[in-house]
Protein backbone atom coordinates (compact mmCIF):
# COMPACT_ATOMS: atom_id res chain seq x y z
CA UNK A 1 0.00 0.00 0.00
CA UNK A 2 2.84 2.42 0.94
CA UNK A 3 4.82 1.49 -2.16
CA UNK A 4 1.77 2.06 -4.33
CA UNK A 5 1.13 5.46 -2.69
CA UNK A 6 4.76 6.48 -3.29
CA UNK A 7 4.59 5.32 -6.89
CA UNK A 8 1.54 7.52 -7.51
CA UNK A 9 3.43 10.61 -6.25
CA UNK A 10 6.57 9.68 -8.18
CA UNK A 11 4.48 9.40 -11.36
CA UNK A 12 2.97 12.85 -10.79
CA UNK A 13 6.49 14.26 -10.46
CA UNK A 14 7.65 12.34 -13.57
CA UNK A 15 4.81 13.93 -15.55
CA UNK A 16 5.44 17.43 -14.19
CA UNK A 17 9.18 17.55 -14.98
CA UNK A 18 8.89 17.92 -18.79
CA UNK A 19 6.14 20.51 -18.31
CA UNK A 20 8.27 22.71 -16.07
CA UNK A 21 11.54 21.96 -17.87
CA UNK A 22 10.72 21.61 -21.59
CA UNK A 23 13.39 21.24 -24.26
CA UNK A 24 13.99 24.75 -25.63
CA UNK A 25 17.00 26.33 -27.40
CA UNK A 26 19.83 25.66 -26.95
CA UNK A 27 18.19 22.18 -27.09
CA UNK A 28 21.35 20.25 -26.33
CA UNK A 29 21.76 22.06 -23.00
CA UNK A 30 18.25 21.08 -21.97
CA UNK A 31 18.88 17.47 -23.03
CA UNK A 32 21.97 17.47 -20.81
CA UNK A 33 19.88 18.91 -17.94
CA UNK A 34 17.19 16.29 -18.46
CA UNK A 35 19.63 13.37 -18.90
CA UNK A 36 19.52 12.07 -15.31
CA UNK A 37 16.03 13.45 -14.62
CA UNK A 38 14.57 11.41 -17.49
CA UNK A 39 16.28 8.27 -16.22
CA UNK A 40 13.67 8.09 -13.50
CA UNK A 41 14.74 7.72 -9.93
CA UNK A 42 12.66 7.31 -6.82
CA UNK A 43 11.58 10.98 -6.51
CA UNK A 44 11.71 10.61 -2.73
CA UNK A 45 12.30 14.31 -2.03
CA UNK A 46 9.52 15.75 -4.21
CA UNK A 47 7.14 12.98 -3.05
CA UNK A 48 7.95 13.91 0.55
CA UNK A 49 7.14 17.55 -0.28
CA UNK A 50 3.78 16.61 -1.83
CA UNK A 51 2.92 14.41 1.15
CA UNK A 52 3.90 17.17 3.58
CA UNK A 53 1.48 19.53 1.82
CA UNK A 54 -1.26 16.88 2.02
CA UNK A 55 -0.53 16.21 5.70
CA UNK A 56 -1.30 19.85 6.56
CA UNK A 57 -4.46 19.93 4.45
CA UNK A 58 -2.95 21.48 1.31
CA UNK A 59 -3.45 20.40 -2.29
CA UNK A 60 -0.44 18.62 -3.78
CA UNK A 61 -1.05 20.14 -7.24
CA UNK A 62 -0.53 23.64 -5.78
CA UNK A 63 2.98 22.83 -4.60
CA UNK A 64 4.03 20.82 -7.67
CA UNK A 65 6.42 23.58 -8.85
CA UNK A 66 8.18 23.39 -5.48
CA UNK A 67 8.37 19.59 -5.76
CA UNK A 68 9.95 19.81 -9.22
CA UNK A 69 12.34 22.52 -7.95
CA UNK A 70 13.55 20.21 -5.17
CA UNK A 71 14.12 17.37 -7.64
CA UNK A 72 16.12 19.77 -9.87
CA UNK A 73 18.28 20.82 -6.93
CA UNK A 74 18.91 17.15 -6.14
CA UNK A 75 19.85 16.46 -9.77
CA UNK A 76 22.09 19.52 -9.95
CA UNK A 77 24.09 18.12 -7.02
CA UNK A 78 24.32 14.72 -8.75
CA UNK A 79 25.69 16.26 -11.98
CA UNK A 80 28.37 18.28 -10.17
CA UNK A 81 29.20 15.49 -7.68
CA UNK A 82 29.78 13.06 -10.55
CA UNK A 83 32.35 15.49 -12.03
CA UNK A 84 34.12 15.78 -8.66
CA UNK A 85 34.07 12.01 -8.07
CA UNK A 86 35.00 11.30 -11.71
CA UNK A 87 32.09 8.84 -11.79
CA UNK A 88 31.27 7.07 -15.06
CA UNK A 89 27.86 5.68 -14.18
CA UNK A 90 24.72 6.96 -12.44
CA UNK A 91 21.36 5.21 -12.40
CA UNK A 92 22.88 2.79 -14.91
CA UNK A 93 23.50 5.66 -17.36
CA UNK A 94 26.62 7.41 -18.57
CA UNK A 95 27.14 10.47 -16.34
CA UNK A 96 26.56 13.93 -17.84
CA UNK A 97 30.26 14.90 -17.92
CA UNK A 98 31.19 11.58 -19.56
CA UNK A 99 28.63 12.25 -22.29
CA UNK A 100 29.03 16.02 -22.79
CA UNK A 101 32.45 16.77 -21.25
CA UNK A 102 33.27 18.58 -17.99
CA UNK A 103 32.66 22.21 -19.12
CA UNK A 104 29.17 21.49 -20.44
CA UNK A 105 28.32 19.35 -17.41
CA UNK A 106 29.26 22.29 -15.16
CA UNK A 107 26.87 24.54 -17.13
CA UNK A 108 24.09 21.91 -17.22
CA UNK A 109 24.33 21.67 -13.41
CA UNK A 110 24.34 25.45 -13.01
CA UNK A 111 21.28 25.73 -15.25
CA UNK A 112 19.40 23.08 -13.22
CA UNK A 113 20.20 25.19 -10.17
CA UNK A 114 18.80 28.42 -11.60
CA UNK A 115 15.76 26.68 -13.12
CA UNK A 116 14.97 25.28 -9.66
CA UNK A 117 14.71 28.80 -8.24
CA UNK A 118 12.80 30.00 -11.31
CA UNK A 119 10.25 27.18 -11.03
CA UNK A 120 9.90 27.55 -7.26
CA UNK A 121 9.21 31.27 -7.65
CA UNK A 122 6.16 30.37 -9.79
CA UNK A 123 4.44 28.45 -6.98
CA UNK A 124 1.07 29.96 -6.16
CA UNK A 125 1.23 30.87 -2.48
CA UNK A 126 1.26 34.03 -0.35
CA UNK A 127 4.31 36.11 -1.38
CA UNK A 128 5.71 36.13 2.19
CA UNK A 129 5.52 32.30 2.33
CA UNK A 130 7.14 32.11 -1.09
CA UNK A 131 10.01 34.38 -0.01
CA UNK A 132 10.47 32.17 3.08
CA UNK A 133 10.64 29.07 0.86
CA UNK A 134 13.05 30.67 -1.63
CA UNK A 135 15.28 31.70 1.27
CA UNK A 136 15.07 28.20 2.76
CA UNK A 137 16.01 26.59 -0.57
CA UNK A 138 19.00 28.90 -1.01
CA UNK A 139 20.22 28.24 2.54
CA UNK A 140 19.77 24.53 1.92
CA UNK A 141 21.92 24.74 -1.22
CA UNK A 142 24.65 26.53 0.76
CA UNK A 143 24.46 23.75 3.38
CA UNK A 144 24.80 21.11 0.65
CA UNK A 145 27.94 22.86 -0.64
CA UNK A 146 29.39 23.02 2.89
CA UNK A 147 28.62 19.34 3.43
CA UNK A 148 30.21 18.37 0.12
CA UNK A 149 33.31 20.47 0.94
CA UNK A 150 33.60 18.77 4.38
CA UNK A 151 33.16 15.34 2.76
CA UNK A 152 36.01 16.03 0.32
CA UNK A 153 38.30 17.13 3.15
CA UNK A 154 37.47 13.98 5.14
CA UNK A 155 38.88 11.75 2.39
CA UNK A 156 42.40 13.03 3.11
CA UNK A 157 42.09 12.57 6.90
CA UNK A 158 42.44 9.44 9.06
CA UNK A 159 40.99 10.94 12.24
CA UNK A 160 37.44 11.97 11.25
CA UNK A 161 35.19 11.76 14.31
CA UNK A 162 31.61 10.50 14.33
CA UNK A 163 30.31 13.97 15.34
CA UNK A 164 32.02 15.52 12.31
CA UNK A 165 30.54 12.86 10.06
CA UNK A 166 27.08 13.56 11.49
CA UNK A 167 27.43 17.32 10.85
CA UNK A 168 28.57 16.61 7.29
CA UNK A 169 25.70 14.20 6.57
CA UNK A 170 23.17 16.63 8.01
CA UNK A 171 24.33 19.34 5.61
CA UNK A 172 25.06 17.21 2.57
CA UNK A 173 21.90 15.10 2.60
CA UNK A 174 19.47 15.65 5.46
CA UNK A 175 18.72 19.37 5.03
CA UNK A 176 17.30 18.79 1.54
CA UNK A 177 14.79 16.27 2.94
CA UNK A 178 14.07 18.68 5.81
CA UNK A 179 13.60 21.61 3.42
CA UNK A 180 11.30 19.52 1.19
CA UNK A 181 9.06 18.77 4.16
CA UNK A 182 9.06 22.32 5.48
CA UNK A 183 8.39 23.89 2.08
CA UNK A 184 5.46 21.59 1.42
CA UNK A 185 3.95 22.70 4.72
CA UNK A 186 4.83 26.42 4.62
CA UNK A 187 3.60 26.88 1.05
CA UNK A 188 0.32 25.19 2.04
CA UNK A 189 -0.29 27.63 4.90
CA UNK A 190 0.85 25.50 7.86
CA UNK A 191 1.75 27.21 11.14
CA UNK A 192 5.35 27.34 12.42
CA UNK A 193 5.02 24.47 14.93
CA UNK A 194 3.71 22.05 12.32
CA UNK A 195 6.27 23.21 9.74
CA UNK A 196 9.00 22.70 12.34
CA UNK A 197 7.79 19.18 13.17
CA UNK A 198 7.87 18.25 9.49
CA UNK A 199 11.35 19.81 9.19
CA UNK A 200 12.52 17.61 12.10
CA UNK A 201 10.99 14.54 10.46
CA UNK A 202 12.86 15.30 7.21
CA UNK A 203 16.13 16.03 8.98
CA UNK A 204 16.16 12.88 11.13
CA UNK A 205 15.01 10.50 8.43
CA UNK A 206 17.44 12.21 6.01
CA UNK A 207 20.36 11.42 8.30
CA UNK A 208 19.12 7.82 8.57
CA UNK A 209 18.77 7.72 4.77
CA UNK A 210 22.39 8.76 4.18
CA UNK A 211 23.84 6.36 6.76
CA UNK A 212 21.83 3.56 5.13
CA UNK A 213 22.89 4.77 1.67
CA UNK A 214 26.52 4.22 2.67
CA UNK A 215 25.60 0.67 3.77
CA UNK A 216 23.89 0.05 0.42
CA UNK A 217 26.94 1.28 -1.53
CA UNK A 218 28.91 -1.41 0.25
CA UNK A 219 26.57 -4.41 0.20
CA UNK A 220 24.63 -4.02 -3.08
CA UNK A 221 25.90 -5.63 -6.32
CA UNK A 222 26.46 -3.37 -9.37
CA UNK A 223 23.51 -4.93 -11.30
CA UNK A 224 21.06 -3.58 -8.71
CA UNK A 225 22.97 -0.44 -7.62
CA UNK A 226 23.55 0.94 -11.15
CA UNK A 227 27.15 1.81 -10.24
CA UNK A 228 30.25 -0.04 -8.99
CA UNK A 229 29.85 -1.82 -5.62
CA UNK A 230 32.03 -0.45 -2.83
CA UNK A 231 32.80 2.77 -4.76
CA UNK A 232 33.00 4.67 -1.47
CA UNK A 233 35.77 2.35 -0.23
CA UNK A 234 37.83 2.84 -3.39
CA UNK A 235 37.32 6.63 -3.16
CA UNK A 236 38.45 6.53 0.47
CA UNK A 237 35.20 8.07 1.78
CA UNK A 238 34.92 8.37 5.55
CA UNK A 239 31.47 6.84 5.98
CA UNK A 240 30.11 6.02 9.44
CA UNK A 241 31.01 2.38 8.75
CA UNK A 242 34.63 3.24 7.98
CA UNK A 243 34.90 5.69 10.90
CA UNK A 244 33.62 3.00 13.29
CA UNK A 245 36.03 0.38 11.91
CA UNK A 246 39.06 2.71 12.04
CA UNK A 247 38.18 3.72 15.63
CA UNK A 248 38.35 0.00 16.54
CA UNK A 249 41.83 -0.23 15.00
CA UNK A 250 40.58 -2.27 12.03
CA UNK A 251 42.73 -2.11 8.88
CA UNK A 252 40.86 -1.72 5.55
CA UNK A 253 43.41 -2.41 2.80
CA UNK A 254 41.26 -1.27 -0.15
CA UNK A 255 40.40 2.10 1.46
CA UNK A 256 41.30 4.91 -0.97
CA UNK A 257 43.03 2.44 -3.32
CA UNK A 258 41.79 3.59 -6.73
CA UNK A 259 42.95 0.40 -8.48
CA UNK A 260 41.47 -2.02 -5.92
CA UNK A 261 40.19 -5.27 -7.46
CA UNK A 262 36.75 -6.78 -6.91
CA UNK A 263 38.20 -9.32 -4.52
CA UNK A 264 39.96 -6.61 -2.51
CA UNK A 265 36.66 -4.72 -2.20
CA UNK A 266 35.00 -7.99 -1.23
CA UNK A 267 37.64 -8.55 1.46
CA UNK A 268 36.98 -5.04 2.82
CA UNK A 269 33.29 -5.90 3.03
CA UNK A 270 34.07 -9.04 5.09
CA UNK A 271 36.36 -7.02 7.38
CA UNK A 272 33.66 -4.40 7.97
CA UNK A 273 31.07 -7.11 8.71
CA UNK A 274 33.41 -8.80 11.21
CA UNK A 275 34.28 -5.54 12.98
CA UNK A 276 30.56 -5.01 13.59
CA UNK A 277 30.76 -1.69 11.71
CA UNK A 278 27.94 -2.45 9.26
CA UNK A 279 25.61 -3.47 12.12
CA UNK A 280 26.66 -0.35 14.04
CA UNK A 281 25.73 1.92 11.10
CA UNK A 282 22.46 0.06 10.48
CA UNK A 283 21.40 0.50 14.10
CA UNK A 284 22.21 4.21 13.96
CA UNK A 285 20.15 4.58 10.78
CA UNK A 286 17.17 2.85 12.43
CA UNK A 287 17.53 5.10 15.49
CA UNK A 288 17.40 8.29 13.43
CA UNK A 289 14.40 7.12 11.42
CA UNK A 290 12.59 6.28 14.68
CA UNK A 291 13.33 9.79 16.01
CA UNK A 292 12.02 11.25 12.76
CA UNK A 293 8.78 9.32 13.00
CA UNK A 294 8.35 10.48 16.62
CA UNK A 295 8.49 14.11 15.42
CA UNK A 296 5.25 13.53 13.51
CA UNK A 297 3.30 12.95 16.75
CA UNK A 298 2.08 16.57 16.79
CA UNK A 299 0.40 16.10 13.40
CA UNK A 300 -3.25 15.03 13.19
CA UNK A 301 -3.69 11.54 11.73
CA UNK A 302 -4.25 11.41 7.98
CA UNK A 303 -3.56 9.17 5.01
CA UNK A 304 -0.58 11.40 4.11
CA UNK A 305 0.87 11.01 7.63
CA UNK A 306 0.60 7.22 7.37
CA UNK A 307 2.37 7.27 4.01
CA UNK A 308 5.13 9.53 5.41
CA UNK A 309 5.74 7.02 8.20
CA UNK A 310 5.88 4.31 5.55
CA UNK A 311 8.34 6.46 3.55
CA UNK A 312 10.56 6.74 6.63
CA UNK A 313 10.60 2.95 6.99
CA UNK A 314 11.28 2.55 3.28
CA UNK A 315 14.35 4.79 3.58
CA UNK A 316 16.14 2.09 5.56
CA UNK A 317 14.62 -0.95 3.83
CA UNK A 318 15.21 -0.16 0.13
CA UNK A 319 17.66 -2.24 -1.88
CA UNK A 320 19.14 0.64 -3.96
Amino acid sequence: MIEEALKIRAKLVDEAIPKFLPITPPDEMYYAMRHLLDAGGKRLRPSALLLSAEAVGGKPENVMPAAVAIELVHNFTLVHDDIMDEADLRRGLTTVHKKWGVPKAIIAGDALYSKAFEILSCTRSEPARLVESLELMSKTCTDICEGQWMDMNFATRKDVKEEEYMRMVEKKTAVLFAASMKMGATLSGANNDIARALWDFGRMTGIGFQIYDDVIDLITPEEILGKAQGGDIIEGKRTLIVIHALSKGTTIDALGKSNATRSEVSAALTTLKESGSIDYAMNKAVGFVDEGKAALKTLPDSEAKTILIGLADYMIARKY
Copy 2:
Protein backbone atom coordinates in the same frame (compact mmCIF):
# COMPACT_ATOMS: atom_id res chain seq x y z
CA MET B 1 33.16 63.58 -11.20
CA ILE B 2 31.61 60.41 -12.70
CA GLU B 3 34.67 58.34 -11.80
CA GLU B 4 34.56 59.66 -8.24
CA ALA B 5 30.83 58.88 -7.98
CA LEU B 6 31.41 55.32 -9.23
CA LYS B 7 34.31 54.88 -6.78
CA ILE B 8 32.05 55.86 -3.87
CA ARG B 9 29.50 53.16 -4.85
CA ALA B 10 32.23 50.58 -5.45
CA LYS B 11 33.62 51.27 -1.98
CA LEU B 12 30.18 50.78 -0.40
CA VAL B 13 29.94 47.40 -2.16
CA ASP B 14 33.50 46.51 -1.08
CA GLU B 15 32.56 47.18 2.53
CA ALA B 16 29.27 45.27 2.32
CA ILE B 17 30.71 42.05 0.86
CA PRO B 18 32.48 40.80 4.03
CA LYS B 19 29.40 41.69 6.08
CA PHE B 20 27.07 39.61 3.92
CA LEU B 21 29.62 36.87 3.21
CA PRO B 22 31.73 36.45 6.36
CA ILE B 23 34.31 33.68 6.76
CA THR B 24 32.54 30.87 8.64
CA PRO B 25 33.17 27.09 8.81
CA PRO B 26 34.27 25.44 6.66
CA ASP B 27 36.57 28.52 6.52
CA GLU B 28 38.56 27.36 3.52
CA MET B 29 35.43 27.19 1.37
CA TYR B 30 34.55 30.78 2.24
CA TYR B 31 38.15 31.88 1.48
CA ALA B 32 37.79 30.23 -1.94
CA MET B 33 34.46 32.03 -2.45
CA ARG B 34 35.99 35.37 -1.41
CA HIS B 35 39.21 34.88 -3.44
CA LEU B 36 38.19 36.88 -6.53
CA LEU B 37 35.70 39.07 -4.63
CA ASP B 38 38.45 40.34 -2.33
CA ALA B 39 40.69 41.13 -5.31
CA GLY B 40 38.50 44.16 -5.95
CA GLY B 41 37.13 44.72 -9.40
CA LYS B 42 35.08 47.60 -10.70
CA ARG B 43 31.75 46.56 -9.09
CA LEU B 44 29.95 47.92 -12.17
CA ARG B 45 26.86 45.73 -11.78
CA PRO B 46 26.16 46.36 -8.08
CA SER B 47 26.94 50.07 -8.55
CA ALA B 48 24.45 50.17 -11.41
CA LEU B 49 21.86 48.55 -9.11
CA LEU B 50 22.47 51.14 -6.36
CA LEU B 51 22.24 54.00 -8.89
CA SER B 52 19.04 52.57 -10.34
CA ALA B 53 17.50 52.59 -6.86
CA GLU B 54 18.62 56.19 -6.36
CA ALA B 55 17.30 57.22 -9.77
CA VAL B 56 13.77 56.15 -8.77
CA GLY B 57 13.97 57.85 -5.37
CA GLY B 58 14.98 54.78 -3.33
CA LYS B 59 17.68 54.54 -0.68
CA PRO B 60 20.77 52.65 -1.85
CA GLU B 61 21.38 51.15 1.62
CA ASN B 62 17.99 49.38 1.41
CA VAL B 63 18.99 47.49 -1.73
CA MET B 64 22.56 46.72 -0.68
CA PRO B 65 21.80 42.98 -0.19
CA ALA B 66 20.56 42.86 -3.80
CA ALA B 67 23.72 44.67 -4.98
CA VAL B 68 25.95 42.16 -3.17
CA ALA B 69 23.85 39.30 -4.55
CA ILE B 70 24.43 40.53 -8.13
CA GLU B 71 28.18 40.78 -7.54
CA LEU B 72 28.16 37.22 -6.16
CA VAL B 73 26.33 35.95 -9.24
CA HIS B 74 28.92 37.69 -11.42
CA ASN B 75 31.76 36.12 -9.43
CA PHE B 76 30.15 32.68 -9.54
CA THR B 77 30.18 32.88 -13.36
CA LEU B 78 33.85 33.93 -13.31
CA VAL B 79 34.87 30.96 -11.12
CA HIS B 80 33.07 28.41 -13.32
CA ASP B 81 34.08 30.12 -16.61
CA ASP B 82 37.75 29.99 -15.57
CA ILE B 83 37.45 26.21 -15.09
CA MET B 84 35.85 25.81 -18.53
CA ASP B 85 38.43 28.09 -20.20
CA GLU B 86 41.30 26.52 -18.21
CA ALA B 87 42.39 30.06 -17.35
CA ASP B 88 45.37 30.56 -15.02
CA LEU B 89 44.95 34.24 -14.22
CA ARG B 90 42.05 36.55 -13.35
CA ARG B 91 42.39 40.12 -12.07
CA GLY B 92 46.13 39.41 -11.85
CA LEU B 93 45.45 36.57 -9.38
CA THR B 94 45.71 32.78 -9.63
CA THR B 95 42.24 31.49 -10.58
CA VAL B 96 40.23 29.58 -7.96
CA HIS B 97 40.60 26.17 -9.65
CA LYS B 98 44.37 26.66 -10.04
CA LYS B 99 44.63 27.37 -6.30
CA TRP B 100 42.10 24.87 -4.90
CA GLY B 101 41.66 22.35 -7.74
CA VAL B 102 38.66 21.84 -10.05
CA PRO B 103 36.31 19.98 -7.63
CA LYS B 104 36.58 22.62 -4.91
CA ALA B 105 36.29 25.45 -7.45
CA ILE B 106 33.03 23.90 -8.69
CA ILE B 107 31.69 23.89 -5.10
CA ALA B 108 32.96 27.41 -4.36
CA GLY B 109 31.08 28.63 -7.45
CA ASP B 110 27.93 26.73 -6.49
CA ALA B 111 28.07 28.20 -2.98
CA LEU B 112 28.45 31.76 -4.35
CA TYR B 113 25.33 31.04 -6.40
CA SER B 114 23.23 29.90 -3.44
CA LYS B 115 24.54 32.68 -1.18
CA ALA B 116 23.45 35.20 -3.82
CA PHE B 117 19.84 33.99 -3.56
CA GLU B 118 20.07 33.78 0.24
CA ILE B 119 21.36 37.37 0.52
CA LEU B 120 18.86 38.70 -2.02
CA SER B 121 15.99 37.12 -0.09
CA CYS B 122 17.01 39.24 2.96
CA THR B 123 16.40 42.54 1.14
CA ARG B 124 13.76 44.60 2.93
CA SER B 125 11.05 45.21 0.36
CA GLU B 126 7.43 44.23 -0.21
CA PRO B 127 7.29 40.39 -0.44
CA ALA B 128 5.68 40.52 -3.91
CA ARG B 129 8.50 42.76 -5.21
CA LEU B 130 11.05 40.47 -3.59
CA VAL B 131 9.52 37.39 -5.27
CA GLU B 132 9.62 39.26 -8.61
CA SER B 133 13.32 40.04 -8.07
CA LEU B 134 14.19 36.49 -7.00
CA GLU B 135 12.42 35.18 -10.09
CA LEU B 136 14.24 37.72 -12.28
CA MET B 137 17.62 36.75 -10.83
CA SER B 138 16.96 33.05 -11.40
CA LYS B 139 15.84 33.65 -15.00
CA THR B 140 18.94 35.77 -15.53
CA CYS B 141 21.15 32.94 -14.29
CA THR B 142 19.45 30.54 -16.72
CA ASP B 143 20.10 33.05 -19.52
CA ILE B 144 23.77 33.28 -18.54
CA CYS B 145 24.06 29.47 -18.74
CA GLU B 146 22.37 29.46 -22.16
CA GLY B 147 24.70 32.22 -23.38
CA GLN B 148 27.77 30.40 -22.10
CA TRP B 149 26.59 27.15 -23.75
CA MET B 150 26.07 28.98 -27.08
CA ASP B 151 29.50 30.63 -26.76
CA MET B 152 31.17 27.23 -26.28
CA ASN B 153 29.41 25.82 -29.34
CA PHE B 154 30.49 28.82 -31.44
CA ALA B 155 34.18 28.00 -30.91
CA THR B 156 33.83 24.83 -32.98
CA ARG B 157 31.96 26.59 -35.84
CA LYS B 158 33.27 28.73 -38.70
CA ASP B 159 29.88 30.12 -39.79
CA VAL B 160 28.60 31.98 -36.72
CA LYS B 161 26.38 34.86 -37.82
CA GLU B 162 26.29 38.31 -36.27
CA GLU B 163 22.66 37.79 -35.12
CA GLU B 164 23.68 34.61 -33.29
CA TYR B 165 26.56 36.43 -31.64
CA MET B 166 24.20 39.21 -30.53
CA ARG B 167 21.76 36.72 -29.00
CA MET B 168 24.63 35.01 -27.19
CA VAL B 169 26.04 38.29 -25.83
CA GLU B 170 22.64 39.43 -24.69
CA LYS B 171 22.23 36.26 -22.62
CA LYS B 172 25.79 35.83 -21.44
CA THR B 173 26.47 39.42 -20.40
CA ALA B 174 23.73 41.97 -21.02
CA VAL B 175 20.87 40.42 -19.02
CA LEU B 176 22.86 40.63 -15.77
CA PHE B 177 23.28 44.40 -16.27
CA ALA B 178 19.60 44.63 -17.23
CA ALA B 179 18.54 42.62 -14.17
CA SER B 180 20.73 44.78 -11.89
CA MET B 181 18.99 47.90 -13.14
CA LYS B 182 15.51 46.44 -12.94
CA MET B 183 15.99 44.97 -9.47
CA GLY B 184 17.29 48.27 -8.09
CA ALA B 185 14.14 49.94 -9.38
CA THR B 186 11.58 47.23 -8.53
CA LEU B 187 12.86 46.74 -4.99
CA SER B 188 12.64 50.52 -4.47
CA GLY B 189 8.98 50.65 -5.45
CA ALA B 190 9.28 51.88 -9.05
CA ASN B 191 6.38 51.36 -11.46
CA ASN B 192 6.61 48.94 -14.40
CA ASP B 193 7.34 51.55 -17.08
CA ILE B 194 10.28 53.01 -15.20
CA ALA B 195 11.60 49.54 -14.29
CA ARG B 196 11.32 48.57 -17.97
CA ALA B 197 13.24 51.69 -19.11
CA LEU B 198 16.04 50.89 -16.67
CA TRP B 199 16.03 47.27 -17.88
CA ASP B 200 16.44 48.51 -21.48
CA PHE B 201 19.29 50.79 -20.40
CA GLY B 202 21.07 47.87 -18.74
CA ARG B 203 20.47 45.53 -21.66
CA MET B 204 21.72 47.90 -24.37
CA THR B 205 24.75 49.18 -22.48
CA GLY B 206 25.47 45.58 -21.43
CA ILE B 207 25.67 44.50 -25.08
CA GLY B 208 27.93 47.49 -25.80
CA PHE B 209 30.04 46.54 -22.77
CA GLN B 210 30.63 42.98 -24.00
CA ILE B 211 31.47 44.02 -27.57
CA TYR B 212 33.95 46.54 -26.16
CA ASP B 213 35.27 43.91 -23.71
CA ASP B 214 36.21 41.74 -26.68
CA VAL B 215 38.06 44.71 -28.20
CA ILE B 216 39.92 45.27 -24.92
CA ASP B 217 40.96 41.60 -24.75
CA LEU B 218 42.62 42.12 -28.11
CA ILE B 219 44.29 45.52 -27.77
CA THR B 220 45.26 45.73 -24.08
CA PRO B 221 48.69 44.51 -22.88
CA GLU B 222 48.85 41.86 -20.14
CA GLU B 223 50.29 44.31 -17.54
CA ILE B 224 47.06 46.33 -17.66
CA LEU B 225 44.59 43.53 -18.49
CA GLY B 226 45.67 41.18 -15.69
CA LYS B 227 45.54 38.22 -18.11
CA ALA B 228 47.18 37.25 -21.42
CA GLN B 229 46.53 39.65 -24.33
CA GLY B 230 44.53 38.14 -27.21
CA GLY B 231 43.38 35.20 -25.11
CA ASP B 232 40.11 35.11 -27.05
CA ILE B 233 42.02 34.62 -30.34
CA ILE B 234 44.02 31.71 -28.93
CA GLU B 235 40.82 30.15 -27.52
CA GLY B 236 39.18 30.55 -30.94
CA LYS B 237 36.29 32.64 -29.58
CA ARG B 238 33.85 33.97 -32.17
CA THR B 239 33.78 37.60 -31.10
CA LEU B 240 32.06 40.24 -33.22
CA ILE B 241 35.53 41.28 -34.44
CA VAL B 242 36.37 37.76 -35.59
CA ILE B 243 32.90 37.21 -37.13
CA HIS B 244 33.26 40.44 -39.11
CA ALA B 245 36.77 39.56 -40.30
CA LEU B 246 35.78 35.99 -41.32
CA SER B 247 32.73 37.32 -43.18
CA LYS B 248 35.14 39.49 -45.23
CA GLY B 249 37.19 36.39 -46.08
CA THR B 250 40.09 37.50 -43.86
CA THR B 251 42.38 34.69 -42.60
CA ILE B 252 43.39 34.80 -38.91
CA ASP B 253 46.22 32.31 -38.50
CA ALA B 254 46.39 32.36 -34.69
CA LEU B 255 42.62 31.74 -34.26
CA GLY B 256 42.09 28.73 -32.02
CA LYS B 257 45.82 27.94 -32.02
CA SER B 258 46.48 27.13 -28.38
CA ASN B 259 50.28 27.35 -28.79
CA ALA B 260 50.28 30.67 -30.69
CA THR B 261 53.28 32.89 -29.92
CA ARG B 262 53.10 36.55 -28.89
CA SER B 263 54.16 37.62 -32.38
CA GLU B 264 51.44 35.46 -33.98
CA VAL B 265 48.83 37.09 -31.71
CA SER B 266 50.33 40.46 -32.61
CA ALA B 267 50.02 39.62 -36.32
CA ALA B 268 46.36 38.70 -35.78
CA LEU B 269 45.82 42.09 -34.17
CA THR B 270 47.32 43.86 -37.22
CA THR B 271 45.15 41.77 -39.56
CA LEU B 272 41.98 42.65 -37.60
CA LYS B 273 42.90 46.35 -37.62
CA GLU B 274 43.49 46.29 -41.38
CA SER B 275 40.24 44.45 -42.12
CA GLY B 276 38.38 47.24 -40.29
CA SER B 277 36.92 44.66 -37.88
CA ILE B 278 38.06 46.43 -34.71
CA ASP B 279 36.56 49.73 -35.88
CA TYR B 280 33.38 47.89 -36.88
CA ALA B 281 32.99 46.40 -33.38
CA MET B 282 33.83 49.72 -31.70
CA ASN B 283 31.16 51.51 -33.72
CA LYS B 284 28.59 48.84 -32.82
CA ALA B 285 29.49 49.17 -29.13
CA VAL B 286 29.03 52.95 -29.28
CA GLY B 287 25.69 52.50 -31.04
CA PHE B 288 24.33 50.18 -28.34
CA VAL B 289 25.48 52.46 -25.54
CA ASP B 290 23.78 55.41 -27.25
CA GLU B 291 20.54 53.41 -27.51
CA GLY B 292 20.85 52.53 -23.83
CA LYS B 293 21.25 56.16 -22.84
CA ALA B 294 18.21 57.08 -24.93
CA ALA B 295 16.11 54.63 -22.90
CA LEU B 296 16.68 56.80 -19.81
CA LYS B 297 14.73 59.71 -21.36
CA THR B 298 11.55 58.72 -19.50
CA LEU B 299 13.32 59.13 -16.15
CA PRO B 300 13.20 62.47 -14.30
CA ASP B 301 16.59 64.19 -14.14
CA SER B 302 18.64 63.44 -11.04
CA GLU B 303 22.24 63.13 -9.93
CA ALA B 304 21.90 59.33 -10.18
CA LYS B 305 20.65 59.57 -13.77
CA THR B 306 23.65 61.73 -14.71
CA ILE B 307 26.01 59.20 -13.14
CA LEU B 308 24.28 56.33 -14.99
CA ILE B 309 24.84 58.14 -18.29
CA GLY B 310 28.46 58.59 -17.27
CA LEU B 311 28.64 54.88 -16.41
CA ALA B 312 27.34 54.03 -19.90
CA ASP B 313 30.09 56.16 -21.48
CA TYR B 314 32.69 54.60 -19.18
CA MET B 315 31.67 51.14 -20.36
CA ILE B 316 33.18 51.87 -23.77
CA ALA B 317 36.06 54.08 -22.62
CA ARG B 318 37.70 51.97 -19.90
CA LYS B 319 41.17 50.53 -20.44
CA TYR B 320 40.58 47.13 -18.74
